[in-house]
Subunit: 208 residues, 2 copies
């Protein structure tokens, strides 16, 4: 049931909040009433943080990650390995991979994956700019770090073909068992891949 509220200011806040993904009208009303119960400066801090973020964050000219400058902090960090570029679907994936502390190179954010059903083709993504980057910069390895889905694999393959003429090594993330999962609950495709791509126990032992 859609409940109407008596105040146009509350109604406006509820309607704006319920535009957010996963937030329906009921949740939006709960959030708005929560803010009304708290100190005014808390709501002002939230509102201003949202506005400032949106108005001042742009995209890195080089890797298309979010940035407050023309070039993002990762691209302009001289300690990072400029010869290795990790290709990801979106900004969230940069954050996820950064939190593993296992990638010391740069990124290239595609802005999505090829998905004909959603009307997303290669030209809607930052693929041409990736090819340009690889041909102009001194990049030795491109790591494809897209999700292991049909769309992700299609995009991986498309990029692989586009880069095949260039003198660059193209790698992709390993498919295998999830750490902490029971073997018997692992799907057969993944289990099969993990047998094909088995690694020397001594190698893993020394790396960890």
């Amino acid at each position: 049931m859609i409940q109407s509220v008596n105040s146009s200011l509350l109604e406006n806040a509820v309607s704006e909040l319920s535009k957010l993904p996963g937030i329906g009208r009921k949740t939006a009303l709960r959030l708005a009433l929560h803010l009304l119960r708290r100190e005014p400066q808390e709501a002002v801090a939230l509102g201003e943080a949202i506005i400032k973020m949106r108005q001042n964050i742009c995209y890195c000219r080089r890797c298309h990650n979010i940035s407050e400058q023309e070039v993002c902090p990762i691209c302009s960090d001289s300690r990072r390995d400029e010869k290795t570029v990790c290709v990801v679907e979106n900004v969230k994936d940069v954050i996820t991979i950064e939190s593993t502390h296992q990638h010391h190179g740069l990124y290239h954010v595609l802005g999505g994956v090829i998905s004909p059903l959603d009307g997303i083709g290669p030209s809607d993504l930052e693929i041409a700019s990736l090819v340009k980057r690889v041909s102009e910069e001194d990049i030795k390895e491109v790591i494809l770090a897209l999700s292991p889905t049909i769309e992700g694999d299609t995009t991986n393959f498309y990029i692989y073909r586009k880069l095949s003429e260039l003198p660059v090594k193209v790698t992709m993330l390993a498919r295998g068992l999830s750490i902490g999962n029971e073997l018997e609950y692992t799907d057969e495709l993944t289990l099969g891949k993990s047998i094909q791509n088995r690694v020397l126990f001594s190698d893993t032992y020394h790396k960890s």
Copy 2:
């Protein structure tokens, strides 16, 4: 895993969003990245709606409902029955009861219920102001519309005793079967109450 983000503006927005109830850091990040993908004016509209709402909504001097003026639109609506006052726990309950279109009188928002475990006593609630209102205004009926919980019932009883000296009828919401629920899944207490408080079929038939 707490994921750190590279931008202080994004970090700030994520940290403010995750202060909202039911929104963790992961959801906050998802919401912030969603706003970054949308048009800037959408984020500005959301931020401004939150700030304006919090800065301009106050509480009605008479019934303690939220209001943009000193007296709320319900209290100042001359078509409403000033002789009947519905006592509710919070602002959300006013909205819920309004959406039934069955109450044509005014409200009195307590701001909570008596709950010794949470340290909430009668003096923390708008009970004294209710008693004052009943003794000063021409109120004929007070409808207790608190939740049928231990705390709600305790508060009902406390208010009932406080009003017992005054010439006012005190009623409470009927307890009975939930419409649409199967009889066999109704708890025994509710079913027992619904037998005790059975109503003439012809009365219900004519009202609906």
